[in-house]
């Protein structure tokens, strides 16, 4: 039952991901990415990572993608027009070929990987308590460093996106 559900989700996720990179309109690409993130959150729930699934929607689909959609609308981008030159078409074809080869290679590598999750997960697995206990004890240093990283990112983004006040010295 879980396997069938996962298969359906996997097909939908791959279709949405292909929509991200294939659609010429950047706004629609962003919408496809939101759908992909949502479907991945459902897969996380299937894998019993409830807190991470909720965080995926809050952080990724609810904040980062809003940022993307804002920027696309702010810059008022039109529909992309890919180059039709001979060289560009050949290079694009090679990129697609490389991508397919990479996908097949990775898929072959993970076959016969770790045993499937046949054992039931421990109680409270994936809930906020379990993740928090691990986060604030084993991973305390990365946690503090990440908070500094976020502060730097906030300051950097605000400074970069400001309007120029003074004329640049030529």
């Amino acid at each position: 039952m879980g396997a069938i559900l996962f298969l359906v989700l996997a097909v939908l996720t791959i279709a949405a991901a292909l929509g991200v990179i294939l659609h010429p309109n950047p706004v629609k690409s962003a919408l496809f990415l939101i759908v992909t993130l949502f479907l991945l959150a459902v897969v996380f729930v299937l894998l019993e990572a409830h807190m991470i699934a909720a965080l995926q929607i809050i952080v990724y689909a609810g904040a980062i993608m809003v940022l993307f959609v804002f920027v696309i609308m702010l810059l008022n981008l039109g529909i992309d027009d890919p180059d039709r030159g001979r060289r560009q078409v050949v290079l694009r074809g090679l990129a697609w070929l490389g991508g397919i080869v990479l996908a097949v290679e990775l898929a072959l590598l993970v076959r016969g990987g770790p045993a499937g999750n046949t054992a039931a997960a421990p109680a409270g697995y994936g809930g906020a308590l379990a993740v928090a206990q691990s986060l604030y004890t084993d991973f305390l240093l990365p946690f503090e460093l990440t908070s500094i990283l976020l502060l730097v990112a906030v300051v950097g983004a605000v400074v970069l996106a400001q309007k120029q006040r003074r004329p640049t010295i030529s």
């Binding site: 697995y125 993740v131 120029q164």
Partner: protein, 101 residues
Amino acid sequence: MIVPTEWVLMLSAVLFAIGVVGVLVRRNIIVIFMAIELMLNAVNLTFVALARSRGAVDGQVVVFFVMTVAAAEAAVGLAIIIASFRNRTTVNADELALLRG
């Protein structure tokens, strides 16, 4: 519900490859960014699947950090794009080539 870990890892591999193709094929910088986010999500999926197969939450904590760093990176990256758009009014990666020797 039981989900075979192999299948999840294969889905993650395919998503990662789709992200790579997106970065190589598209010329719009923002779409390239979105393909990078796709790759990061594929890695998140791998971590969650392997955490589940081991029964430990450490993998999920790493996903937590990946999400945070991705958020920071998206914010700063988009700020850079906006700043460069003010001068060059283009988001085509082929034309943003001022640093080329």
